[in-house]
């Protein structure tokens, strides 16, 4: 099926097998392999990308459903040689070890910071009417869809605080 979307600012047109997930389209058809396949079931978050600014699990989404969407992957965050502030913070805080969950963690962080800026509440938000304040507890809760088996969570938290201006 013919599908067109904007990928990291560039127009992309593909003829896709309707069974192909967005993740496999990115990795196998387009050749952007930064988004990772950890579980293929939406349980680990390694495939997290931004669709129209919101984070989703690319493994749970069929590529043909994204006609007209704006998609940003880990490859689209840095501007030439300059890392995105979240990428730079992950590097400086050693917020990863093996690096396999990292693109998903970083995309998820970018999406999460926007959700908080937009005033979205989380499970641990006590006052739903107040402005969203990204406490450590809020960050941990909002990032729990991204597993890190190397368990870099303390360092990921530090990186998010740095990148989010919360340090």
């Amino acid at each position: 099926m013919k599908t067109s979307f904007t990928l990291n600012g560039q127009a992309e047109s593909l003829d896709l097998d309707p069974r192909t997930t967005l993740l496999d389209a990115l990795r196998e058809q387009i050749g952007l392999k930064g988004s990772k396949k950890g579980c293929d079931h939406g349980q680990c978050g390694a495939c997290t990308v931004l669709v129209n600014g919101r984070r989703i699990n690319a493994c749970l989404s069929l590529a043909v459903t994204h006609d007209g969407d704006e998609i940003t992957t880990i490859e689209g965050l840095a501007k030439d040689e300059t890392l995105h502030p979240v990428q730079a913070a992950f590097l400086a805080q050693d917020a990863f070890q093996c690096g396999y969950c990292t693109p998903g963690q970083i995309c998820s962080t970018v999406g999460m910071l926007q959700e908080a800026a937009d005033g979205w509440a989380s499970l641990v938000t006590a006052d739903l009417t107040a402005d969203t304040v990204l406490t450590d507890e809020e960050i941990r809760e909002r990032m729990s869809g991204n597993l890190c088996r190397c368990s870099a969570y303390p360092q990921i938290l530090a990186a998010i605080r740095t990148a989010g201006g919360l340090a």
Binding site: D24, Q43, F96, S144
Partner: protein, 749 residues
């Protein structure tokens, strides 16, 4: 063979003139990882577009594949190849020299004989992943099943001595235990756990004539290369194995799996590159796991807490055809003083996937027993748990009498107690409340052996002054790239930016790979040796070159620093020297072997964990509130990556204590949890306020750099500290891990 005495002399590492050793520099490959451009095995660019392989698992636990109907699959769209036990190409027997303890001698992929649920019995290759998956679902197998032993607890009467092992007895445990005025006899269960690395096993393979190139996700380069060569019945020189980035290993990728074998076989058959990845479900069913361990601890003490008698007996399991013993009692042989001692293991053989090494094999499960038993004994004696341990601190190794190379366990405990605020602990359980939460503190000791294996490394300097270290070593997220760059830069006195590190290639000088927390010491010592050899070569080059300001100087007096080679105030930049005197570059190798007298010392890493938990008395939920660890592990090469290793290990301990277990379905022999929703590894929300520190230490009996491993120490004892905190919080003493809500509720006093 060298002696540990050779290792005490000053070196560029101990002098650390540019301060790179210990510095928390960013990861060498970090930029690639945060930009998503580090190519993992499935992502490597093949010389031509690859075909996609998909594995098909068996649905019985034990028996034989009697038929495979592949007709529909073969005619499905895009299918290039379908293999079943009767059509898979012949494979050589895997040699016993490859990981004989966890991998049986003969293990062809797609064998007709099914030895566990999930063993692969079919394989499909197609032009796209979607076509391969669809075709794989069309293959139909029939089986002859035979009865299988599946449930550990039901087969305990079949436990036997592990081959070639005997109990270790010192003194007369039974007599001393019978006479002891204070006794504790408690049994603990550590359940079956899965590695759950984020990156599933994967291989991309292609052939060029009779040479095969494989990119695969494996912790041991040489093991994978030789295993594949034996399987393909070709010399190892015809197999080039690369493993540059590995998405987590934790012991589970210490060996190769069917993705490697079948990608290589199919690429040969089809004459095009083939790539194969395990699904998450296959990661559970068709790799190794940490086996369950039942442990009985008996402690006999004097009223003052001194142990007279100590026993730790462990029963564990392995796959029937793949003997492996989780040595859950071994750590205890060096931990506490007691004149009468008994430790040993029994093994139950089951028809489930193979048991094998998982982060800190032995300690990770073993310390869950003894470190809780010490907590229980302390309460029985009315002693603080730290004081009980101090009273049983040995002066020399309690079983061998050998001196400790270093041992700062006491300082780990006392320093940790002070920083954590241990004195605020109320020894009586269930006394502290914070809202609805019952709050408690717990601690445990940590010990993990330190090892050094033989290894080589190569280093070259080019005419532009760039140093390139090459080693058949792996970085599984541990920081190997980074510490090898630091060692090389410090040894040659050049800036870090001038050093390149290339790993994970069987063409490079061999190193044993990542495992057993021996990686940094082993690979690093070889890199250091190579660097020292390059210093000598460059000193000879400069002092023998009439155009060098060092011409005629004694090579022994040459120093390196700031990118220069010098004697006194005569100096020249390394790139100038090499460009002039050796424009093709200088390449040398170095090697490390364990010192002959290293075994004269009892050599371990140590630590102490402190945990604060909240227990909800109505739901049984346990939440970590904070956790702190103090560790002594020799000289630390990189403050940042070492800390990440240690805190990562501690978090594994949290998972061990509170979340992680798998169970075997008695009907089929499959695991109940087969994905990351069913098998809960710690998520971000599970981990609060967790930190650690290292004590200053140099272990000059360990290796030339005085370093030790940190990859596994962090998990050792960590779960016990949590369990002890749970008891302190609410009075529920649970000896069956993990401490899930239903167990907590049932155990509340």
């Amino acid at each position: 063979m060298s002696s540990v005495k050779d290792w005490a002399a000053p070196t560029p590492i101990s002098e650390n003139r540019s301060g790179l050793i210990g510095k928390g520099v960013n990861r060498y490959e970090g930029r690639l990882k945060v930009t998503g451009t580090a190519p993992f095995a499935y992502e490597v660019e093949a010389p031509s577009p690859p075909a996609y392989g998909v594995l098909i698992p068996a649905s019985i636990a034990r028996g034989v594949v009697t038929s495979a109907d592949v007709s529909q699959a073969k005619s499905a769209p895009g299918v290039l190849l379908v293999w079943s036990p009767d059509t898979v190409p012949a494979q050589g027997e895997r040699g016993a020299r490859i990981n004989p303890r966890s991998q049986r001698g003969s293990n062809p992929a797609l064998a007709a004989r099914v030895e566990h649920f999930g063993q692969h019995v079919g394989f499909v290759v197609a032009d796209t992943l979607e076509n391969a998956k669809a075709a794989a679902a069309l293959v139909r197998f029939t089986y002859d099943s035979v009865p299988a032993d599946l449930i550990f607890e039901d087969c305990l009467d079949k436990a036997e001595d592990p081959e070639g092992e005997e109990d270790v007895r010192i003194g007369d445990f039974e007599a001393a235990y019978a006479k002891a005025p204070v006794r504790l006899d408690a049994s603990y269960v550590s359940p079956l756990q899965n590695h759950a690395q984020m990156e599933p096993c994967a291989t991309t393979a292609w052939w060029d004539g009779d040479q095969v190139t494989v990119h695969t996700s494996i912790q041991m380069v040489k093991g994978g290369q030789h295993t594949l060569a034996e399987t393909l019945m070709i010399p190892s020189t015809q197999v080039r194995l690369l493993t540059r980035y590995i998405g987590g290993g934790f012991g589970g990728k210490g060996q190769s799996y069917d993705d490697l074998t079948l990608a290589a076989l199919a690429a040969r058959e089809l004459g095009q590159p083939v790539k194969v990845a395990y699904t998450r479900q296959q990661m559970f069913q068709a790799t190794i796991h940490r086996p369950a361990v039942q442990m009985r601890v008996r402690l006999g003490a004097q009223a003052d807490g001194r142990l007279d008698a100590f026993a730790l007996e462990a029963v564990t399991h392995c796959r029937r055809e793949a003997p492996f013993t989780e040595h859950a009692a071994n750590f205890a042989r060096s931990l506490y003083a007691a004149p009468n001692r008994l430790t040993g293991h029994r093994l139950v053989k089951l028809d489930i996937p193979a048991a094998g090494a998982m982060r800190a094999p032995g300690e990770a499960s073993g310390m869950l027993s003894l470190e809780c038993a010490m907590d229980e004994l302390a309460e029985q004696l009315g002693l603080d748990p730290i004081e009980l341990r101090l009273r049983n601190e040995p002066e020399t190794d309690p079983e061998t009498g050998k001196p400790f190379s270093t041992r700062q366990l006491v300082r780990c405990m006392t320093e940790g107690a002070q920083r954590f605020g241990w004195d605020r602990r109320n020894p009586k359980p269930g006394q502290v409340r914070d809202g609805r939460w019952l709050v408690g503190l717990g601690m445990a000791a940590a010990i993990r052996g330190n090892f050094l294996l033989p290894a080589k490394a190569g280093v070259r300097i080019d005419a532009d002054g760039t140093l390139t270290l090459r080693q058949g070593m792996t970085d599984i997220g541990t920081g190997t790239y980074t510490i090898l760059a630091q060692i090389t830069a410090e040894t040659l006195g050049v800036p870090l930016s001038q050093v390149k590190v290339e790993l994970g290639d069987s063409d490079f000088p061999p190193a044993p790979g990542s495992g057993g927390q021996f990686g940094a010491a082993t690979a690093g010592s070889a890199a250091f040796a190579a660097g020292m050899n390059l210093r000598r070569a460059l000193a000879e080059l400069a002092t023998g070159d009439p155009n060098s300001p060092l011409y005629g100087d004694d090579p022994e007096l040459v120093t390196f620093g700031g990118g220069n080679i010098a004697v006194d105030n005569r100096a020249e930049p390394l790139d100038v020297l090499v460009a002039r005197a050796a424009p093709e570059g200088v390449y040398v190798e170095g090697s490390i072997t364990p010192a002959a007298d290293a075994r004269d010392y009892s050599q371990h890493t140590y630590g102490a964990h402190f945990a604060e938990v909240g227990v909800d008395p109505d739901t049984g939920e346990v939440r970590l509130r904070r956790m702190f660890g103090v560790f002594a592990a020799g000289r630390i090469l990189n403050a940042k990556t070492a800390m990440s290793q240690i805190t990562g290990g501690m978090i594994w301990g949290v998972g061990t204590a509170l979340h992680e277990y798998n169970a075997v379905d008695p009907r089929y022999g499959s695991f109940i949890a087969q994905d990351l929703a069913g098998y809960h590894v710690p998520a971000h929300a599970d981990i609060a306020n967790l930190s650690a520190m290292f004590l200053d230490e140099v272990d000059d009996k360990a290796n030339p750099m005085g370093i030790k491993g940190v990859g596994e120490l962090g998990i050792a004892g960590a779960g016990a500290a949590i369990a002890n905190a749970v008891y302190n919080a609410c009075g529920a003493r649970i000896r069956d891990y993990p401490l899930t809500p239903e167990k907590v509720l049932a155990a509340l006093p």
